[in-house]
């Protein structure tokens, strides 16, 4: 029961934040899918099945926040690299600002129960 509740809680928190984690990973460098997904998977609790990132990437691309380009790979066939568009950078900046305010407010409430 507790683990089911925990799972559902994490799912809800992940829902709104995962796409910005993806954008954040692409802020300073382009990455290919496998690299991106494994980096996310290594961050504790962010994704349970790696494959579910691909629908999200597809969506980000459709929304114009991410584009893809092909690059040669040192081993194997060329790879599709994902990178941020200017709109992607903007979306990430907006999220970062709002996220700081949001977590500050939540942290204050969690720690002090709302007393000043």
């Amino acid at each position: 029961m507790v683990s089911a509740k925990r799972e559902s809680l994490i799912t809800q928190m992940r829902r709104g934040t995962l796409e910005y984690c993806v954008l954040a990973l692409l802020r300073d460098q382009a990455r290919y899918g496998f690299d991106l997904v494994r980096t996310l998977a290594d961050a504790d609790g962010l994704i349970t099945s790696e494959g579910t990132i691909y629908p999200l990437l597809s969506r980000l691309r459709r929304d114009g926040l991410v584009t893809t380009t092909w690059h040669e790979s040192p081993s194997g066939p060329p790879r599709r690299y994902y990178e941020l568009t200017p709109a992607g950078h903007q979306a990430l900046e907006l999220f970062t600002t709002e996220w700081d305010r949001f977590t500050d407010a939540v942290d204050r409430l969690l720690q002090q129960g709302g007393s000043p």
Partner: protein, 184 residues
């Protein structure tokens, strides 16, 4: 060894393709291609091509159904509604209702067990079948005299009524089965 691994990957991608069927074609192709590239990259990153290693890669990717569910959610696509199941109870009820006497008895019980008809429909079904009794009675007494014609019409009606009732119930069933919202 490599062939087993390739078969596993092929199966996985075929499952994923089937699961993605509700999505726009362009999105299906994109997600399939990218998951395929992921598997290629994962295999290139491993020193071993053993079956166990491939299984781990596919397990980490997750169930194709989960990927498709995520895709439907990200793109706001409703899953294809499942076809409503054939209402066997109701079909048997209808057949029973048009069989004289014993059939009607069975039909009258079954009609009340159904959850697809309203109480009004059920009452009509029960009473409509009851006219078999009138019809049977009519053929036994053999009416004569001045009221004979009217009696004859009533007897014929009594024979027709069960069929009319069954047709009415069938129409009601169709209408209600089609408007029942598909459960997700």
């Amino acid at each position: 060894m490599t062939t087993t691994a390739d078969t596993l990957v092929d199966h996985y991608l075929r499952d994923l393709e089937a699961e993605l069927r509700d999505l726009p074609a362009a999105r299906q192709r994109e997600i399939l291609a990218e998951v395929g590239e992921h598997i290629t990259a994962a295999r290139a990153a491993q020193d071993t091509q053993s079956e166990a290693a491939i299984r781990t890669v596919l397990e980490r990717l997750g169930d194709p159904a989960d990927i498709a569910a995520e895709a439907r959610e990200r793109f706001g696509v409703q899953p294809e509604p499942t076809k409503p199941a054939t209402p066997w109870l109701e079909v048997i009820t209808l057949v029973a209702l048009v069989v004289p006497f014993l059939g009607w008895l069975v039909g009258a019980v079954l009609v009340w067990l159904s959850q697809r008809w309203t109480t009004r429909d059920k009452l009509i079904g029960t009473i409509g079948g009851l006219s078999w009794v009138v019809a049977g009675f009519g053929t036994v007494v053999e009416p004569a005299g001045p009221g004979a014609t009217i009696a004859l019409i009533l007897i014929v009606l009594a024979f027709v009524l069960p069929y009319a009732t069954a047709i009415y119930l069938a129409i009601r069933l169709r209408a209600r089965t089609n408007t029942v919202p598909a459960t997700r």
